[in-house]
Symmetry: C2
Subunit: 640 residues, 2 copies
């Protein structure tokens, strides 16, 4: 049962440290390589310089330049998170200089957008449908809140409050205001953050207005287009589903349109369910979540199958090789599920965060930290590679801010509760009932399912420790201080909603040994997913595996079949600390179609024959980090 | 071995009559329903009326109106063929009135195009790339030749000769002429027909010029675009492959671009190989043919996988449900293969004609003769249906002219030879060595492989009877006058290039009994055809089978699997004369995925289970003639 108020409070990322071989080096790489790389790209492409307001740009301008302010903003957010956990004077100097630039670009009336100040001032607030003006404002607000929280400095926050005040004076139901909202949701969730940073309820009210007004009739985008002298029917995306404006959110029955927009809107919707004590919004989120996860999501947590709208198509339309599955969309999925998780601690949301994080998000960044996937297909014939930057560079800074604040996804607290949502070696500081509790995980996760949890309390304290049992985990064992825990006795053990609940009086030095069995698993897709019929994928723990060309010299991966009926015995796990930053690979046998006899024939009256082949599967997220080449996640299911 | 001169001479369709239950009713329906229907549609849409030159049309005009002259032209061709085999005063009156209209639309200088006479006279010959001006001329020429041959009247032929003379004066290498050619090949093959009808070698020379100049550098379409003040790089189709102008035809290594354009060009190329004794053109055709049939053709003879260019994509890119496979393209394939077949009588060309005719062409027309497929996908979720007309109505009159002249594909003669390429009950009149031979087939083909051939000669005559052994036929038996024929003895029997060669002295009353075994066959596609991996189709004789929704109440056809390893025993053939105009259906057992247990899950760690289902397969060509619904040709291969 969900309640409409959050029962859980996330432990801030600033209180979580990683001491593991998996995340700790990635976060350090994010700080030392990725964040500087993005800064330099924003500089080199004039995105930070734009705030000096002395650029020239053609009209009509490329849309990606129109919303170019959002990229330094997301970088600023990432850099601020990094500073919050790791002092870095050089980075701080960059952050400060960009903050100054942003502040100086603000107009007298509070307006703050480089494109519509310099290039098209006459078009200010004239095309909310296409031009991302409020979207940019939202990212600047998120940046300002992060900057304030990291540095304690109010100057950028104050500037963005003035901008938010200007927006508040411009949009709303009141007479004289425009009844508009942005074609790309983002400002809604940003305003909730601003409300929390300032305690000013006007920002919450404005966020609520933006969510409630969206999709109402007469449709604002129709009105706005006619005011520009355009026929609304000529909207290139054909449907306002693209901008989440086809119908009010409470009336939506399926997740549609542009995937990032859907995720950002649903994040705000879930925020407002809590803030406004609004059960209709929580129900909306739960309904759309169910539809999404049972119909429209890739195994990797990727969402949005179609390139032409960067978004959703039909139920069960999940082609692997042409999957769009934008990195930003899966990051948005994590953000939304993180919010849903806090209501009553249902493990399905944390499961999905884990699936997204270790697969469809992590695939977005190279092991060198400076190359990125925008699209994350589940198969490639060999022509899909990470790039150091994009014409539309939304994904790199989104990855950077996600990694820099990753710890925030791991734990929550409640009245007398600690939830461990995710597993990684490291320490978290939190308070339960006003008393400080330190929790340390010792584990080789995600390569091993053994987790030792050291509970450091000042003195005896009674609370419930909730440990997530991942959906992939069919067998687990738990012991407290070396003794098997059970439903009775001094440790009250229970299980529900995807968590073990361990209620007891904790004492200094207590330790929980939690073992999640982590066999290799074969996974099948719903029979309605036509592109995956007769196919099977391999998973182990939270990791989706794939085959890469480099490990199968010359073989066309798409012709490889495995016998899926006993993969836990037929495949072996091998940890290789030298490979791909340290991974567990899966090795086994498969068969590959023998093409001989097919040279000069396209159709024939007997099936292709096969021969045996050694297979090596690597984690999906790690592909395309060696030689460019093919990749396949879904293999043909052969044998038995 | 091919020779560069045709060894075979097609027996004209006027000498072939059908007396069967399959084609005879279809040809009668073509005459009584389809041809009148198209006439009325051309009238109703102003296409015939346009020749009165008093219409109004916006500029820019829809492209399909710009080439609207071609539709009455193809109708005229179809109607003329029909008149040539079946007198019909009402139809003759229509034909005459349209011929008069066309003649009166001709300009003083011979020019004859309604759009560029009325709407955009200043753009005459200014955009050969896009505007089909010479394409329309080609269809008018084909119409005029057919009209002349059917009626003996020269008036339309003479008008089109004047137009051809005008074109000849306009285009060519000579000083003062434009070095142009049409973006849509068609006039080339039409000019060869005009050459044969008139014996005027200038028309052959002009056809040769058009074929030779195409794709030369500097590219004419670049020059022409710049002359219009356009950047050639802005060509919407991106590549001149679309218009067969990316490179000279002799340098092409694969069939690319718009499929109809490719087929019409290759038909002309093959004509010119013979006419000009040009081995380079025959080699070109053979090379491209090989590449096409081993890489880029559907099981139905459909070609051109992609809607956006109505044409070819990559090798082995043959998705079934989104197959474009335009009816006109497969008709073009028949025309081209008919030409290739005449060089040395290689059965592979007649095999492909058969495959195209009974499947991808015949699917283009409904059993009521008045509804048409433009696209012929090999699967449908239920939303693809024949239409009575199209915005671009190229396919209906193309079907009508093909059916009205169908007999022309059945036989050829040589110096001392008769070739029987196709089988159907009926009679053909032909001359061998100046002596008349009548040949009658008695057969239930395509539902049965037994063919009795009655050879009616005036007296003893020695020649070779070549009977095609279809590629699908693995076992056959032959007897002459009740005696088993053999390699020695008085009947010299040999086999080669896909034909039985039966050399003997024929006498009045001789009969050959030819039995082609016609088991049900399972067919697999090349492993590189990703969309067909793990799938299998059913064929019997020349017929490709499919499953239709109406025969499998409620079942999603895409989830049905069959055991393909013994289909000739597991499935039964049942002739049903009441069904779909009389067809053999295939009945057997399959399995269907059981969706229970998948209601709320998209991925899981065990495969879908299956249950048994009765399967009825109908001929692919006959689908969508009962209730609208699903259709699948390629089924999942399950079992063994």
């Amino acid at each position: 049962m969900s309640t409409v108020k959050r029962q859980l409070e996330p432990v801030p990322f600033t209180q979580v440290t990683f001491e593991d071989a998996f995340w700790a080096p990635r976060l350090e790489l994010n700080r030392t390589v990725t964040i500087p790389h993005i800064y330099q790209q924003c500089e080199a492409t004039g995105r930070t310089g734009a705030f000096d307001l002395n650029f020239e740009r053609p009209v009509p301008s490329p849309i990606v330049l129109i919303f170019g302010d959002s990229d330094p903003a997301k970088w600023m957010e990432a850099a601020s998170y990094s500073l919050a956990t790791h002092p870095d004077p050089a980075l701080e100097a960059w952050v400060d200089s960009v903050a100054e630039k942003i502040i100086h670009a603000q107009q007298q009336d509070g307006y703050l957008n480089t494109h519509f100040t310099v290039t098209q001032p006459e078009m200010r607030w004239k095309n909310l449908r296409d031009w991302h003006e409020l979207y940019c404002a939202g990212h600047l607000i998120e940046a300002a809140v992060a900057h304030y929280q990291a540095t304690g400095q109010r100057k950028l926050l104050d500037a963005l409050c003035r901008y938010a005040d200007h927006i508040d004076a411009t949009f709303g139901h009141e007479p004289g205001k425009q009844r508009g909202y942005c074609g790309h949701p983002e400002i809604e969730l940003a305003l909730v953050k601003l409300y929390h940073a300032t305690q000013n309820p006007r920002y919450l009210k404005l966020a609520t207005y933006f969510v409630d007004e969206r999709g109402q009739q007469p449709n604002y985008f129709d009105i706005e287009a006619r005011a520009r002298g355009e026929d609304p029917a000529h909207f290139w995306a054909k449907s306002y589903e693209y901008c989440q404006a086809h119908t009010p959110i409470r009336e939506q029955t399926q997740v549609v349109g542009h995937a990032v927009r859907a995720m950002y809107l649903l994040s705000a919707v879930t925020d407002l369910a809590h803030e406004n004590d609004d059960p209709t919004l929580l129900e909306t989120g739960e309904r759309l979540w169910h539809q999404l996860v049972t119909r429209r999501i890739y195994l990797t947590g990727g969402i949005g199958a179609a390139r032409h709208i960067e978004g959703f198509t039909q139920d069960y339309d999940l082609p692997d090789e042409t999957a769009y599955a934008e990195t930003c969309a899966t990051i948005g999925l994590m953000q939304w599920n993180h919010r849903l998780l806090q209501f009553s601690g249902e493990g399905k949301y944390a499961d999905l965060i884990e699936r997204a994080l270790y697969n469809g998000v992590l695939s977005g960044i190279s092991l060198d930290g400076a190359h990125f996937f925008y699209e994350n297909p589940l198969a490639s014939a060999g022509h899909h590679h990470r790039e150091s930057w994009f014409v539309c560079p939304c994904c790199p800074p989104n990855l950077a801010r996600t990694l820099a604040s990753l710890g925030g996804y791991f734990y929550s607290t409640g009245a007398n509760d600690i939830w461990v949502h995710q597993y990684a070696q490291g320490t978290a500081k939190m308070k339960v009932n006003e008393r400080e509790v330190n929790l340390r995980q010792v584990t080789k996760y995600p390569w091993d399912g053994d987790v030792k949890l050291e509970i450091d309390v000042a003195g005896p304290q009674r609370f419930t420790l909730h440990l997530r049992v991942p959906a992939w985990c069919e067998q687990w064992h738990i012991a407290v201080n070396g003794e098997h825990a059970s439903r009775s006795g001094k440790d009250e053990l229970s299980m529900g909603e995807g968590y073990i609940h361990l209620r007891r009086e904790w004492n200094p030095g207590d330790a929980v040994e939690y073992r999640m069995e982590m066999p290799i698993r074969a996974v099948w897709a719903h029979p309605a997913v036509r592109d995956l019929q007769g196919r099977v994928a391999l998973e182990r723990g939270p990791i989706v595996y794939c085959l890469e060309g480099i490990d199968h010299a010359g073989t066309i991966l798409d012709r490889i079949a495995i016998d899926p009926h006993n993969v836990s015995n037929e495949f072996q796990v091998e940890q290789d600390d030298q490979l791909l930053g340290g991974v567990s690979v899966l090795r086994g046998k498969g068969t590959v179609v023998d093409e001989s006899g097919w040279e000069d024939v396209l159709y024939r009256n007997r099936p292709p024959s096969s021969k045996s082949i050694d297979i090596t599967a690597i984690p999906y997220y790690a592909w395309d980090n060696r030689a460019p080449g093919q990749m396949r996640t879904w293999l043909q299911a052969g044998g038995g």
